[in-house]
């Protein structure tokens, strides 16, 4: 009886397994065509000297990589720019996002203005945010300089000064990314039981103490996920600087992604562009594995 049941189950199981693979097949096929095969091609091309501006290609081993890492100052500058952008905008977006989440976590009677206020920046295309902020920071007609003049100061040339351009860029990126951060953190805030705060209030804890002792620890998992997520996307920063400064003045605000794009599409240097893209791929894999390890550990704990 038991054996018969087991046999039946395993036949059903086999059928289900077969159907499972059939259902996964379209997804796997698309992934292979759009991700796996291109990555294989990317890795292969990175070992060649290969430009579309002249015929033929030649195997050169790791020469593209050694050139990028030891000789190409413009690439190293773009790596440094990207690192600074990550270092400034990821914590910046976290702080602003947490502030927005705390503000949004109030007992509103009408919820849509706040919810939409958090969703709009997310839904706005990155490149449009870049365009709009380029205009906010315009020397003559910009909103920022209008405020500065109202306050009685001399308006600066935001986008043609290397340092100020960087500052303006960071402000735009923080604005664009903090809302999504706030949405994630808000969802985390709403899972914290109200009873914890009531108990703390009975014990006479101040609002600040409640924030440090209850809110932050309870929010930590959401914060970590949001930070890693944001860092991985920040590595690829392209749209906002493309629209806002186009990497300028000079290449003061050029990111890795912008330099790779320029190398491949404008200079048509597929071999070297592939090597640079491979480097970015490796950095992202490292960051992603940190994320996967984190979620796995969390899953194990639950």
């Amino acid at each position: 009886m038991a054996a018969a049941k087991k046999y039946k189950l395993s036949k059903l199981e086999r059928d289900e397994r077969r159907l499972g693979f059939v259902l996964l097949a379209p997804a796997a096929a698309l992934l292979t065509a759009v991700v796996v095969y291109p990555i294989a091609e990317l890795l292969a091309n990175s070992l060649y000297s290969f430009r579309l501006t002249r015929p033929g290609y030649r195997f050169i081993g790791l020469e593209n990589f050694t050139f990028a890492l030891f000789e190409d100052d413009r690439f190293l500058q773009s790596v440094l720019n990207t690192a600074i952008l990550i270092g400034v905008t990821v914590p910046g977006a976290l702080v602003i996002g947490l502030g927005l989440a705390l503000l949004a976590n109030q007992p509103f009677k009408v919820k849509w203005p706040v919810r939409l206020g958090l969703l709009l920046p997310w839904a706005l295309p990155l490149v449009f945010a870049g365009l709009i902020f380029r205009w906010f920071f315009d020397y003559r007609q910009g909103f920022v300089n209008w405020l500065i003049e109202l306050a009685g100061f001399a308006p600066p040339q935001w986008l043609s000064d290397p340092h100020l351009a960087f500052v303006a860029l960071c402000i735009a990126i923080v604005w664009k990314s903090s809302s999504f951060m706030a949405l994630i953190l808000l969802a985390g805030l709403q899972t914290i039981p109200k009873s914890l705060y009531e108990a703390a209030e009975v014990d006479g804890a101040s609002r600040f103490q409640q924030f440090v002792e209850i809110t932050l620890p309870m929010l930590k998992p959401a914060i970590v996920v949001a930070l890693i997520f944001r860092t991985i996307t920040a590595i690829q920063t392209f749209d906002i600087p493309y629209a806002m400064t186009n990497g300028g003045p000079g290449s003061a605000t050029e990111t890795m992604a912008m330099y790779i794009h320029k190398t491949t599409i404008d200079f048509l240097d597929i071999g070297y562009g592939s090597a640079l893209a491979t480097l970015m791929f490796l950095i992202s894999i490292a960051a992603t594995s940190v994320y996967l390890r984190h979620t796995k550990r969390d899953g194990g704990r639950n």
Binding site: E16, R17, L19, L23, L24, P26, A27, L30, V34, V35, I39, E41, L42, N45, L100, L103, A104, Q106, F108, W112, P113, V114, R115, L116, G117, L118, L119, L120, P121, W122, A123, P125, F128, A129, L131, I132, Q141, W175, S179, L183, I184, A187, G188, A222, V225, I232, I235, F238, M256, H261, T264, I265, G273, A277, M280, F281, A287, T288, L292, T295
Partner: protein, 282 residues
């Protein structure tokens, strides 16, 4: 319940709540409002110094010029076709995959989930280089498929995860009952699961659509000929005769963001739940 909290709130507390709402809303609406105001300004008002905030002399001329002088309808059409087709493809493929992950005992379920997460983190710029070359070889540059297939894959991870979490909540007994009544597995998926999971499918579709509507890097690289540009590329690469014509650009931006804004305004609760499903569960 709402009444009880209201009574507990003092007048000062009520004011704080009000200010909090105003700050969050202002932060989110401000740039959109700014371009909305600008789209009604005349070119000469824009050159005035100091600048004006609300248009003094509102005009619809910018919108007329966007539609008459610019191929904005073409960009709009390209965006609709690319976003629509890629969303349909993405939902079809992701729904099957999500169902397989949730209901069928496939081995290595966790591996599938890890692969999905890894893909969702993938640097687009690394894909851009070989995709450019492949599409060039295939002669697909500046065609719809060049964007439809990559966009479908781009949203596949998040759509699969969102739909999987909705499928999970549908009691398996319903499908078993349908199968006892003579339905096949796929029949049960189509007749029982999909209608019940419609909100989840719909949420995933909105996310996929917005992702495709907003994408810039691939569109710029694979589809930059004027006639095949999507809205983000068309507007960003727009060159006026002299300087960047901000009132016209603003009008174009309004045209480009209104469809998506309407979509998320109508379905805001669903969008929020879909966006946070991945993040909070991690």
């Amino acid at each position: 319940m709402a009444g009880a909290t209201d009574m507990k709130l003092g007048l000062g507390r009520k004011k704080t709540v009000w200010i909090a709402a105003a700050i969050v809303a202002a932060n989110g609406f401000f740039p959109a409002l700014w371009i909305l105001f600008t789209s009604f300004k005349t070119e000469s008002e824009l050159l005035r110094h100091p600048i004006t905030i609300v248009p003094h002399d509102p005009t619809l001329m910018n919108f007329v010029r966007v539609f008459v002088d610019q191929p904005i309808l073409l960009f709009l059409g390209n965006s609709l076709v690319v976003a629509g087709l890629s969303t349909a493809l993405c939902i079809f493929v992701s729904a099957l995959a999500a169902y397989a992950i949730v209901r069928l005992r496939i081995p290595g379920r966790n591996v599938v989930l890890s692969v999905l997460l890894a893909v969702s983190m993938f640097p687009l710029i690394s894909l851009m280089v070989p995709l450019f070359q492949t599409m060039r070889t295939l002669g697909w540059l500046n065609t719809y498929p060049a964007l439809v297939f990559p966009y479908a894959v781009l949203s596949m991870p998040v759509c699969t995860l969102v739909m999987a979490s909705f499928f999970q909540d549908i009691p398996g007994d319903l499908e078993n009952a349908a199968m006892i009544d003579g339905c096949t597995r796929l029949g049960a998926l189509w007749h029982v699961v999909v209608p019940l999971a419609a909100p989840g499918v719909f949420t995933a579709a909105i996310l996929a659509f917005v992702n495709a509507w907003d994408e810039f890097l691939l569109a710029l690289t694979l589809s930059s000929r004027v006639t095949s540009r999507t809205l983000p590329v068309g507007i960003t690469l727009y060159q006026g005769e002299f300087a960047f014509p901000w009132p016209i650009i603003s009008a174009a931006l309004i045209v480009a963001i209104v469809p998506v804004c309407a979509l998320i305004a109508i379905f805001q609760e669903r969008v929020v739940s879909g966006l946070t499903a991945g993040g909070v569960k991690g």
